[in-house]
Amino acid sequence: MSIIQQGLFVLVLAGFGWLLFKRVKLISKLISLGKTSSKEVNKSEALSRTLLFAFGQKRMFEKPLVGILHFFIYAGFLLINLEVLEIVLDGVLGTHRVLAPFLGGLYPVLIGFFEFMAVAVLISCLVFLVRRNILKLDRFQSTEMTSWPKLDANLILIIEIVLVSAILFLGAADQSLQVLGSTGYTSTGPFYFSSFLMPVFSGAEEASIIIVERGLWWGHIIGILFFAVYVTYSKHLHIFLAFPNTYYSGSEPSGKIQNMPEITSEVQLMMGLSSEQQGNPPESFGAKDVFDLSRKSLMGAFSCTECGRCTEECPANQTGKKLSPRKIMMDTRDRLEEIGRNGKFERDEKTLIRDYISEEEILACTSCQACVQACPVQINPLEIILELRRYLVMEESKTPQEWTAMMTNIENNFAPWAFPSADRFKWANEFNKEQE
């Protein structure tokens, strides 16, 4: 019996592992469709940023209650995985609670601690479900929060609730079997939280408790493996990508716009500052599609967990304009996933601009960087908005009339307004007169 279970377990593990591997490969391929950056990462800065913002979740604590609840889920996820390690060992080796004999009295303490985390995760997830579905917090209700993003968010919470509940009932069933002296159920001593659930099994026959215990054990581990694959399709991918995304986010001032060194030589030539074109000018300017964005931007799209802190602070969005920085990130990911499904990984009839993001949206941005400042995992929607604007202006010469006028003024009068440049120093004359 045991050997069949072991074989089955290894098969299940390998099957989900293969699915996961395929998804990870696809996502990294999609991210690598973006442009590489020549900028070097300052490793020590990047590391401390990752520690502070990703591990330490600094920005999450700006909303303290949410910060704490989120921290429970995060810590619970990390710590309970230690128990999953034992479950996997048991599955492969055909053992039961293989670590208990080694850890002795420490074992029930550890399990008790994991169970505490499980309860904390459970409560946090319930609170989050209430916030989303009953209190209907504004930032979860914007137009881009259509059926799938809403369902995705709820599914994540529900799956987590089911998984941690399974752990607790599993503990209760195990302890009940220990009390009954069932073979194979090593005595470990009581587990603090799940022991409260033992009355559920009181009076039940040993055989049925064993069936329930086995069912929970298999259900739990398959649930975890399913969830691991599900995460790669979901906004929940932030649990992994938050780390590299923060690491690579760069430490330059948020008001600084990415330079385009590739056109400097051409500009110098136009201005007569040099007589030779160095290197080849780029084939296109700005971003029409995801291929033209940086890998950093594309990783950002996969790192976004759609929390809406950016959109909540966006002045355009908050005054009823169509722009939502969260939607910019979601659209970028949707476009990438579409390219992934098509399987060709090359340009097709669709583009990020217009098929996903409208001109109206990107024109509404004030470049105020509130979105950049708000993102807990250092995603930069502004970078994408500006690259799309560059495409519109430099490739299609499509700008609002007033902007065309502003640019003509800069070209002719060297100021964005239509004042003659000879009047630029008039303020000083007025000032000098005043002094006399």
Binding site: P253, K321, Q369, T399, I410, F414, A415, P416, D423
Partner: protein, 262 residues
């Protein structure tokens, strides 16, 4: 001699340019912001700080062009400005426009223009700290409610939140914060080249939203540190017909009123 010297004049006199005051387009052409330019000049002259301006040789930094997506025009502006600045051997730049400040400080170095750049809030605060700029005690603003509006390009972009607030505190004013301030400060609506076009359709204007927030503090003065913010907030106050009760001033204008005359 009270004339404002240009870099060309100083150069002709064989003098070094210690500080270049980058006036900016708004400071040169906008009637309201010209008054801020003049306030800064009076403050500097009052304490005998040597400075020069580029005068007619100054041109737009290229900020609105770059943010509207026209990188060619931006780089043309940047490269020609850098040529002029480097030609005069400029090392220190002072400006009253956070957009010029951000562009010259953060975006010019990659194109060959590396300078030490100061926004006037930092510059004036530093002069006060060093005891060079002295203020009268108990003046016009003592105990008056003043709220400060963070400019995005000063605050979030460059992490300057305290210098303008310190200046207001040095007026003994009652500094009151709006609901959203500092890192969470709400934009005036003009950045990213929005100053130069109408907003996209929505249910209200960004500047009205922000002005209402400022008005809710019941301050007599809304202090700003950016020409665009000043325009947007002044328009907002007018729109709400509160211009008799609430005034929009640049921090430099407030400081100048309290400057001790030597």
């Amino acid at each position: 001699m009270n004339n404002v010297k240009t870099a060309a004049e100083l150069k002709a006199e064989g003098k070094e340019i210690e500080v270049l005051f980058w006036v900016g387009c708004a400071g040169s052409f906008d009637d309201r912001y010209k008054r801020v330019t003049q306030s800064i000049v009076r403050i500097l002259k009052g304490i005998g700080t040597e400075f020069a301006v580029l005068g007619e040789e100054e041109t737009c930094t290229g900020d609105p062009a770059r943010r509207a997506g026209n990188e060619f025009l931006f780089q043309m502006q940047a490269l020609s400005n850098i040529q002029v600045l480097n030609g005069y051997g400029v090392k220190k730049i002072l400006t009253a426009c956070p957009h010029c400040f951000n562009t010259i400080k953060n975006e010019y170095p990659e194109l060959g223009g590396a300078y030490e750049v100061f926004h006037h809030s930092e510059f004036l605060q530093d002069l006060i700290e060093k005891g060079k700029l002295k203020l009268e005690n108990g003046g016009e603003f003592k105990g008056k409610k003043i709220t400060y509006h963070d400019s995005c390009y000063l605050g979030r972009a460059n992490d300057i939140y305290e210098a303008p607030r310190d200046l207001l505190r040095s007026l003994d004013a009652d500094l009151v914060e709006m609901e959203r301030s500092r890192q969470k400060g709400f934009c005036c609506g003009a950045g990213g080249a929005q100053m130069f076009k109408d907003a996209e359709p929505g249910d209200r204007e960004v500047n009205i939203e922000r002005t209402d927030e400022a008005l809710r503090t019941n301050s007599e003065v809304i202090a700003s540190a950016c020409p665009f913010c000043m325009t947007m907030l002044s328009d907002g106050v007018k729109n709400r017909e509160q211009e008799d009760r609430v005034k929009v001033f640049d921090i430099a204008e407030l400081i100048e009123k309290q400057q001790k005359k030597e």
